[in-house]
């Protein structure tokens, strides 16, 4: 299943990093990060950086839904950022919704997480443990009634058949190539849809949902890497497959040539 994503790095001038992300043809969130910056005395922690998240809806004042989203994001970002590296500082995230968000759906939570990850990558000033990508998965009642079907980005027509839904966030870290990678599920809110499902969730269901989510999250991860590649090497057209190690070698050779050319 190929996801329809919109992702881009933004260029807000007063913050360290900014990015936009959306599931679908238009961006849903714009997030910015400033850090490590000065922290207020009452929020200072002596051995780690303080993470502050502000979620702002497009319309209305931020209310309980925004606060709920901010708490979720703070937990996840705590796992993504290496907070021990910069004690007594503040890492400030602001997530601005670009579309009206009357209800906090799992897809929106996933979009927010991805958006924060992208802005962290854009800033480059905050050390990261890995890249956290999130997707939302729904289990729909299958037409033949036998095998459960898991879908990403539940469309409107599936809504009446959705039995369980949730957002999964995975921490990805590269090893040598994108074929061997490590992915751990760091957060989920897999739950049955209220009043709809007769059966409860069991462990097998959760494992199946998580595996389906991991495949989709990997696609998000690959798109993020492609975006970074485009940014780093704007002359080269972003290839469908990511750069392999051999091209990295040739880049090293270029660097030594440049050093030779410089006369000091």
């Amino acid at each position: 299943m190929s996801l329809n994503l919109t992702l881009s790095f933004d260029s807000l001038s007063r913050v360290d990093g900014s990015a936009r992300f959306g599931f679908g043809p238009h961006p849903q969130y714009l997030s910015s990060i400033s850090g490590p910056i000065e922290v207020r005395l009452n929020a200072e922690q002596s051995s780690q950086a303080t993470i502050e998240v502000h979620v702002r809806p497009l319309t209305n004042v931020p209310g309980t839904e925004s606060k709920k989203a901010a708490v979720i994001l703070k937990d996840i970002l705590q796992m993504e950022v290496i907070v021990e590296a910069n004690p007594r500082t503040l890492i400030q995230f602001v997530v601005q919704a670009l579309i009206p968000t009357p209800k906090l759906t799992d897809e929106l939570v996933a979009a927010m997480i991805n958006c924060c990850t992208l802005s962290l990558l854009n800033s480059g000033s905050v050390p990261m443990r890995g890249v956290i990508c999130a997707v939302s998965i729904a289990r729909v009642s299958s037409l033949d009634g036998k095998k459960p079907v898991y879908r990403t980005q539940p469309m409107e027509e599936h809504n009446s058949r959705v039995l369980a839904t949730g957002c999964f966030a995975f921490l990805f870290s590269d090893s040598f190539s994108s074929n061997t990678y490590a992915a751990t599920c760091v957060w989920t809110n897999w739950h049955t849809v209220y009043n709809r499902s007769i059966e409860a969730i069991d462990e097998d269901d959760l494992v199946r949902a998580r595996d389906a989510a991991q495949k989709a999250a990997r696609e998000v991860w690959i798109r993020m890497k492609m975006l970074v590649e485009e940014r780093e090497r704007p002359g080269v057209k972003a290839s469908k497959t990511l750069v392999s190690r051999s091209t990295d070698e040739s880049q090293k050779a270029d660097a030594t040539d440049d050093d030779d050319k410089m006369e000091i």
Partner: protein
């Protein structure tokens, strides 16, 4: 958090450059930064950037019961709050001076100068009127947030289309955008705001559209809101340095010319965007 004041070398450099008639970003004294307007997929969603300063605005409309003292008019509320995204010096919940200025000016320029024809927002007098809500989000503060916010607000109001409403007796039918084309708001005029910064050294001429450093080091700011028909809406001066009447008249004349140019630009962009949206009229 208090912003770090510009350093003394920066201050001396800027003031001596301005004395020689040079602006640090090589603009003329009465040049504004390049304006870009980006329209969103929804009508009434605009992102306006004035150089590196960026503001996002969105208009939404709800049907509500009008207050008993004004049963024939709709009303408009403007919500603007600066988040730490604009700069980490802004804290949520503690309105800075800049924020208060912007809120007051937006109120004066858009609400009190009667931009929107409020009587046209009435659906069923005494029972149903349109309540327009203009949400202003300041995304990046690189100087002169006020002009950018006012421009974005006006453009959003011009871009917005409200649903078509039919009243039969006491019954109100709201038509979906897919069945009947939404209709634009009825606006009396389009004011644009221009801010000039002037300095304690009176030999320095006022500069239009100050960038961040110029704004930080100003001796005073004067903001003029006017429309392309040469009608002044708001003149606001803040800061201690006195201005000669001749200077003010010169500034007003410059603003008049800029308002005409801005109006032409905005109309052209709106037209361009409207043509890009394929609306089939059956």
């Amino acid at each position: 958090m208090r912003p770090p004041s510009p350093s003394i070398p920066e201050k001396e450099f800027l003031l001596s450059a301005l004395k020689q008639g040079l602006r640090l970003d090589s603009r003329e004294f009465f040049d504004i930064r390049p304006v870009t307007l980006t329209f969103g997929p929804e009508l009434g969603w605009v992102e306006c950037s004035l150089g590196k300063t960026r503001v996002l605005t969105q208009v939404e409309a709800k049907m509500v019961r009008p207050p008993p003292d004004r049963p024939f008019e709709g009303f408009i509320t403007i919500h603007s709050e600066i988040s730490p995204m604009a700069s980490s010096e802004y804290e949520l919940g503690r309105p800075s001076e800049e924020e208060v200025t912007i809120t007051q000016m937006l109120d004066k320029v858009i609400r009190r100068s009667d931009v929107v024809d409020k009587e046209s927002l009435c659906i069923l007098s005494g029972q149903r009127v349109w309540h327009l809500r203009l949400n202003v989000h300041c995304l990046s503060d690189a100087g002169n947030l006020l002009d950018c916010a006012c421009l974005a607000g006006i453009v959003a109001l011009k871009h917005f289309r409200r649903p078509d409403v039919e009243v039969i007796g006491e019954e109100v039918i709201v038509h979906e955008p897919t069945s009947r084309a939404p209709i634009p708001l009825s606006l009396h005029h389009n004011p644009y705001c221009f801010t000039f910064a002037f300095y304690s050294d009176t030999s320095i001429n006022p500069v239009l559209d100050p960038n961040l450093l110029e704004q930080r080091l100003n001796g005073g700011l004067i903001s003029i809101a006017l429309n392309a028909q040469r009608e002044l809406c708001v003149v606001q001066k803040s800061g201690g340095v006195p201005l000669e009447p001749a200077d003010i008249l010169k500034i007003v004349n410059v603003a008049v010319q800029k308002a005409k140019d801005m109006d032409a630009f905005v109309e052209a962009r709106l037209q361009e965007d409207w043509e890009g949206r394929k609306i089939e009229v059956r």
